[in-house]
């Protein structure tokens, strides 16, 4: 808490900046109003402005509301593809991170190539390669080597959803391997050395000691990647779709083309993706808070810790910050 100069007997609540000026007077006057309410008001104003522009653009909102149930029917396929992709990505990211940290030249080389290629080429190109080039390889393989059973080379021809999950998993796994590597390196060196001193094998050390601690650093950026992946599932529709399994973007595209209302259809899809993202972000926040419990200074009976999202640094996620109440004298603060 800074020692501020309060002039002539005026008392300021802690945390308000010193000095005069319009913003500071506003902050003073509204100091009694809770922070969250003020943020909510800002959001309402933003939405009001957006609503005004929306109205000016002349969109057929009645049509949008009419078609949203149909478009929302694609939700389960979007989530299914995104879940499949993120699970694959997590597995690949873990292997990639361990490979990047390894002294084994094969592991290091292979994972280095993997991250370089899949981060270096566009996702849509990768999806088309998996969907179109793999079957060609299969066909030519069975032509050159006829003793391979055709069922095996037939497996190279993937359904568009499967190709999509595979492509998303490979692409995001490459990006996430850097996240996992940073997470593993964030665990103190002493932990690994202590594990080795106790006679643990590499696998035991990783699985029981290092990774559980790395998990806390890995979760926020991974959640971020999952949110991005939910939007990238739209690219899968460019490979081709089946009537039964159309996800949000494809449904909005077809409905828009049917009625010649492309813009309204895409807006409906955008709103749905936004809601999906908001719901997931909420759950991610809860997970982060849960994982942070071991890292927060123990709160005393009169102390209320206010949860503040860590905004600085490399976005490394939630940080618990204690905000002591104004009338709590310093002697009562616990040690440490």
């Amino acid at each position: 808490m800074k020692a501020e100069e309060t002039g002539a007997g005026a008392t300021r609540p802690p945390g308000t900046p010193a000095g005069s000026g319009r913003m500071n007077r506003l902050a003073l006057a509204s100091a009694g109003v809770p922070f969250r309410l003020k943020v909510a008001i800002v959001w309402v104003v933003i939405f009001a402005i957006l609503g005004f522009f929306f109205h000016l653009a002349g969109f057929d909102t009645g049509w949008i509301l009419d078609k949203i149930p149909y478009i929302a029917g694609g939700l389960r396929y979007t989530i299914m593809i995104a879940l499949g992709g993120i699970v694959l990505a997590i597995v690949l990211a873990l292997l990639g991170a361990l490979g990047r940290l390894s002294r084994n030249p094969i592991a290091y080389g292979v994972t280095g190539f993997y991250t370089s290629f899949f981060r270096g080429t566009p996702l849509i190109v990768q999806l088309f390669l998996i969907y179109l080039a793999l079957p060609q390889i299969g066909v030519n393989l069975s032509a050159r080597l006829p003793w391979i059973p055709s069922g095996l080379t037939g497996m190279f021809t993937l359904e568009s959803t499967v190709a999509g999950i595979l492509g998303l998993g490979l692409n995001y796994g490459a990006y996430m391997s850097e996240i996992f590597r940073a997470g593993i390196q964030s665990v103190g060196h002493g932990q690994g050395e202590a594990a080795e001193a106790l006679g643990m094998t590499y696998r035991q050390k990783m699985w029981r000691i290092v990774l559980p601690q790395a998990f806390r650093v890995i979760v926020p950026p991974t959640g971020n990647e999952f949110i991005a992946m939910m939007k990238d599932t739209a690219l899968v529709s460019f490979l081709g779709t089946t009537v039964a399994a159309m996800e949000i973007f494809r449904r909005s595209q077809l409905v828009g083309k049917h009625y010649y209302k492309n813009l309204e259809a895409y807006i409906a899809a955008a709103v749905l993706y936004w809601i999906l993202t908001a719901i997931f972000s909420y759950f991610q926040g809860r997970l982060e808070r849960r994982l942070s419990k071991g890292y927060v200074r123990a709160a005393g009976p009169e102390r209320k810790a206010r949860f503040v999202h860590g905004s600085g640094g490399a976005g490394s996620g939630a940080m618990m910050v204690e905000v002591p109440m104004p009338d709590t004298p310093d002697e009562e603060r616990p040690d440490g």
């Binding site: 066909v139 490979l239 081709g240 009537v243």
Partner: protein, 303 residues
């Protein structure tokens, strides 16, 4: 480098110049070239556009089959070609065209009108097919199902009725009728257009009924039946446009929107090549803007 005043004015001027080049001063497109069916559908949906002048060209549209299919497709091509000719002769195609487009587009620029009244043959093709022949037709008859590709992003050729979950459209009706006359059911696949016209379908589907023009490049990778209908390509402009009247002169150098990789794109580039047809490329030096589909181009026209 001079006073602060001078530098900030320079910076502002630079920024404004950048913005001005981006803005382009008003309309993005002067015209769109597309099929008369798409154009009419757009106008009927209430958009402020109009068709100007005579059609630029007629394109024959055939049913396509992959040359690189692992089972030999040629007997299937022959069977479907026969069916298409029957459908012309007995008036089925004329009826479907009138239903979806309002006019009979099955008459080519040089052909006679289809007959009306000769009854369809009662026997489906599959009843007389040797199922042990091991080619694509035999496999289809054996499975009782033909896989047909369609892109439901092109009303009125093909669209998705979201309340029933069924496809509807002229191409859908034609494909269903072909399957009926073969004696099999239809399973629909929805590949993207680029995947479709490049050939190399990898046996994912058997037949394409998608208003595909039988250009020379496509004939190298696909077999085509004789045309099942023809679409005139027309020029669409905004309803209040008065600048475009004579198509051979008023469009030269103008910004024209087309669906990328479609015949209209090739026409404007003067590379359109369909064996058996000649074209009069009357638009010179068009500033071609390509879009993923015709309806996206039409949308940009309205701005």
């Amino acid at each position: 480098m001079g006073s602060k005043w001078f530098r900030s004015t320079l910076g502002l001027a630079f920024a404004l110049a950048l913005v001005a080049t981006g803005c382009g001063g008003g309309h993005r497109l002067d015209a769109v070239v597309t099929s008369v069916t798409t154009a009419q559908g757009w106008i009927d949906a209430g958009n402020e556009a109009k068709i100007v002048g005579e059609p630029l060209f007629y394109e024959p549209l055939g049913v396509g089959f992959d040359k690189s299919a692992s089972l030999d497709p040629q007997s299937l091509v022959a069977a479907v070609s026969g069916i298409v000719e029957q459908m012309h002769a007995d008036g089925t195609l004329t009826a479907m065209s009138t239903k979806w487009y309002g006019i009979d587009l099955t008459i080519g620029p040089t052909e006679q009108a289809g007959g009306a009244g000769a009854p369809a043959p009662s026997e489906p093709v599959c009843t007389s097919v040797d199922q042990a022949a091991g080619d694509l037709l035999a496999r289809i008859c054996q499975d009782g199902e033909i896989r047909v590709s369609t892109d439901p992003a092109y009303p009125p050729q093909s669209l998705l009725n979201e309340t029933t979950g069924e496809f509807e459209g002229f191409d859908i009706d034609v494909a269903t009728e072909i399957a009926n006359r073969l004696g099999v059911n239809v399973a629909w696949k929805q590949p993207s257009w680029d995947v479709l016209i490049a050939g190399g379908w990898n046996d994912r589907w058997d037949m394409s009924v998608g208003s595909m023009t039988t250009t020379k490049d496509r004939q190298e990778v696909l077999y085509f039946t004789p045309p099942y209908y023809y679409t005139p390509a027309v020029v669409v402009v905004r309803a209040d446009d008065t600048a475009v009247k004579d198509l051979s002169t008023d469009l030269d150098g103008k910004k024209i929107g087309v669906c990328g990789g479609c015949t209209y794109d090739y026409f404007l580039q003067k590379t359109l090549d369909i064996p058996g047809y000649t074209f009069n490329f009357i638009i010179d030096d068009a500033d071609i803007h390509t879009y993923d589909t015709d309806s996206t181009a039409l949308q940009d026209l309205q701005i």
